[in-house]
């Protein structure tokens, strides 16, 4: 067995190790380099549209490539609202799921459920999209939107009459369901990380399971927030489900029953023929840039929160 001391320098390690390192280096560099190149490429392609249309590109809304009129406000706002609904849905579902899995289930049942959750996180999102279009959209309209409108119609969010199942709410709900496994595994992992000493202390003072869960979850709160922020970043980029369910309509309102657009859905629908028009492609790149920056910021925030919390809890 070959052992390398951590203080050995590149030139003093054995020839085999050095060759192995040199062999692996290019692939590692490529992965990191790709992110940088993607970022540069998208910014350079976006710059043309940003220069031509200025800030109005992001604060007005229009999609009329034949007359070269563009505005991305609706898809940007639509993306934010849809992913916020998705994150909220995922939070509610994942929190209950994580508590059930890590607090109440034991043995084979727990293993089985964990396997199912892992399996779900690997499902291609197009499966959710197909299911969403065929079944979820009509069901959400009849059993979620109509009752909400009927009984809570005085709240502006639910004030408008639901017309079709294709809406911000449907897209948000289905995207939310699709990110549940991801958020759940993050929350479960953090929940397990809480040192047993806390649990023993709780049980020692005679706390019920409910009280124990409440205290342990309180300790996990920063991790749960981080999980939701990471889920939000993921929801933002979701394309297939959004394109199938959001309604692809250049409109946005305070009411979540209305169809709208998201950036990913816009790119999916328009990229194919964008090169036929002068600025359409560049406008799509500037939309992608906005989402990329938002997702980067969210991911970084989430990861920082998570690692800070981990080091605190484990300390």
């Amino acid at each position: 067995m070959i052992r390398i001391k951590s203080n050995q320098s590149f030139f003093t390690v054995s020839r085999h190790d050095r060759n192995l390192f040199l062999l692996l280096l290019p692939t590692a560099v490529v992965v990191v380099g790709l992110l940088l190149i993607t970022f540069l490429l998208i910014s350079s392609r976006a710059s043309e549209a940003v220069k031509t249309y200025g800030l109005s590109l992001y604060v007005t809304s229009a999609w009329d490539p034949e007359r070269e009129r563009y505005g991305l406000f609706v898809p940007l706002a639509g993306t934010l609202v849809t992913s916020a609904i998705a994150a909220l849905t995922a939070l509610l579902l994942s929190l209950s799921l994580s508590i059930v899995v890590s607090e109440f289930l034991r043995g084979a049942v727990r293993n089985f459920l964990s396997t199912i959750i892992e399996f779900m996180s690997g499902l291609p999102t197009v499966i959710y999209a197909l299911w969403g279009v065929q079944y979820a959209a009509p069901v959400i309209r009849d059993y979620v939107m109509l009752p909400l409108h009927k009984y809570l119609g005085f709240i502006p969010l639910f004030a408008c009459e639901p017309l079709s199942g294709y809406s911000v709410l449907s897209a948000g709900l289905v995207i939310g369901i699709s990110i549940v496994p991801y958020v759940t595994s993050l929350i479960c992992e953090s929940y397990m990380l809480v040192p047993t000493a806390y649990r023993e202390a709780c049980l020692g003072i005679g706390a019920t399971r409910y009280e124990t869960t409440k205290i342990l979850l309180g300790l996990c709160r920063p991790a749960v927030i981080a999980a939701v922020v990471l889920g939000l970043a993921r929801a933002m980029g979701e394309t297939t489900i959004a394109a199938a369910l959001v309604g692809n309509s250049m409109t946005i309102s305070y009411c979540v029953f209305m169809p709208s657009y998201t950036v990913s859905a816009l790119i999916a629908a328009q990229y194919g023929n964008a090169q036929l028009y002068m600025y359409a492609e560049s406008v799509l790149y500037s939309a992608a840039l906005a989402i990329l920056i938002l997702a980067l910021v969210l991911s970084l925030t989430g990861l920082t929160l998570l690692s800070k919390w981990r080091s605190k809890v484990l300390a």
Binding site: A62, W63, D64, P65, E66, R67, V133, Q134, A137, P138, C160, E161, L163, S164, G165, Y166, A243, A244, G247, N248, S249, M250, T251, S253, M258, P259, A265, A268, A269, Q270, G272, N273, Q275, L276
Partner: protein, 376 residues
């Protein structure tokens, strides 16, 4: 414990068997010998591939022809349904050998390539108005005018029991529900949208502005929140199927295969017509087609839509094959010419539901194009 080697071999065997079964079932792998090629073409052309790209509209028909032509001649044709616009730009950049486009070349483009580019309206189809109103009996076809459809897509007509719709459908007027209309459109850039909006503009110029004609437009109805976009014909079909009280427009073949309810549309002479083979043929009979494939067809799109003739279907639209008059390679020119001839003589005997064979003038245009095709 099973020997790992044995287990590995078993897994490989199972995977192989499964793969063969799947390939057999999907028809990718055929065990029967390929139907012997009754070739009329010279053996040098066999194994040649022609590349084309363009409209999705004639795709089902082209697939059928490609298969038939390959069995006959051994020449394969590779057609990518990427959309009219993208197909045309690939063709003009010489990436592909031919293009298919719903709208013909614009006059400016035609002038630029005058004498070198040929166009033939070789597949005829229609855009049909489909709807989903549970209250309307399945054996009744809603009657609509261009003006009413335009008002729906503008958001001016809001409910299905609007007086203007009732007036056209007196038999079922009391069954039309007081429900808001969801107008479904194509979210991608599409030739079907161009045909549909051209129809709205031609039949109701006072309601539908010429600014609202094109492949990709800003739908007024989406501003009031009653518009939903679907990706491709399939997307529009799905939205209409799953949304009660919606209306949409798709290619005729999609309405047939998905059994959607189709509206009868008022034509220029005031009759309400459903899409049918005769109704489509009559629409084409009443237009002046250019005499040569080298001529300008840019006005034909407007002419076939809302054409004259008492029984003509008003949203009839041919899809064009666009090709060069001369090709670098002699074999390519010959193969292309063979294909056009085969379509004109044999291909039209096998027309897929949703399309009709064009009138004899068009067949002559195809034969003429085949005749004047040359190699550089």
């Amino acid at each position: 414990m099973v020997n790992p080697k044995v287990r590995k071999a078993t897994i490989i065997a199972v995977v192989l068997v499964l793969a063969i079964v799947v390939l057999r079932l999907t028809g990718v792998l055929t065990l029967e010998p390929v139907v012997d090629v009754k070739t009329t073409t010279s053996p040098t052309l066999r194994g040649l591939t022609l590349n084309g790209a363009g409209a999705t509209f004639p795709y089902p028909q082209i697939v059928e022809w490609v298969r038939g032509f390959y069995n006959r001649s051994g020449i394969s044709i590779n057609y990518q349904p990427v959309g009219s616009g993208a197909g045309l730009s690939q063709f003009l950049q010489n990436v592909t050998d031919f293009a298919c486009s719903d709208p013909p070349l614009k006059r400016g483009d035609w002038e630029k390539y005058r004498g070198t580019v040929m166009q033939v309206p070789w597949v005829v189809g229609a855009v049909v108005i489909v709807y989903n109103i549970p209250e309307v009996p399945a054996n009744y076809n809603l009657r609509l005018t261009g003006e009413v459809i335009a008002k729906i897509y503008r958001g001016d007509i809001r409910f299905w029991d609007d007086e203007e719709i009732k007036k056209l459908n007196t038999e079922i007027a009391d069954r039309l529900p007081h429900k808001e209309i969801v107008a479904v459109y194509r979210s991608d850039s599409s030739g079907t949208t161009e045909v549909f909006t051209t129809f709205l503009y031609k039949s109701a110029p006072n309601v539908w502005d010429s600014k609202l004609v094109g492949k990709n437009i800003e739908w007024p109805v989406s501003k009031v929140g009653r518009g939903v976009g679907g990706q491709g014909n399939q997307g529009v079909t799905q939205v209409v199927q799953t949304t009660p009280y919606s209306i949409g427009y798709v290619e005729w073949s999609f309405a047939i295969t998905n059994k959607l309810q189709v509206a009868a549309v008022k034509n220029r002479e005031g009759n309400y017509v459903l899409p049918s083979e005769n109704a489509l043929k009559e629409a084409l009979r009443n237009i002046n087609l250019p005499k040569s494939p080298l001529d300008d067809f840019s006005r034909t799109l407007e002419e076939t839509i809302y054409a004259g003739g008492p029984n003509s279907y008003p949203i009839t639209s041919p899809s064009y094959i666009i090709l060069w008059r001369s090709y670098q390679s002699n074999n390519k020119a010959l193969a292309m010419s063979e294909f056009l001839k085969w379509v004109a003589t044999e291909g039209y005997k096998n027309v897929v539901p949703g399309y009709v064979a064009p009138p004899s003038e068009v067949i002559n245009l195809l034969l003429k194009a085949a005749e004047i095709l040359i190699s550089k």
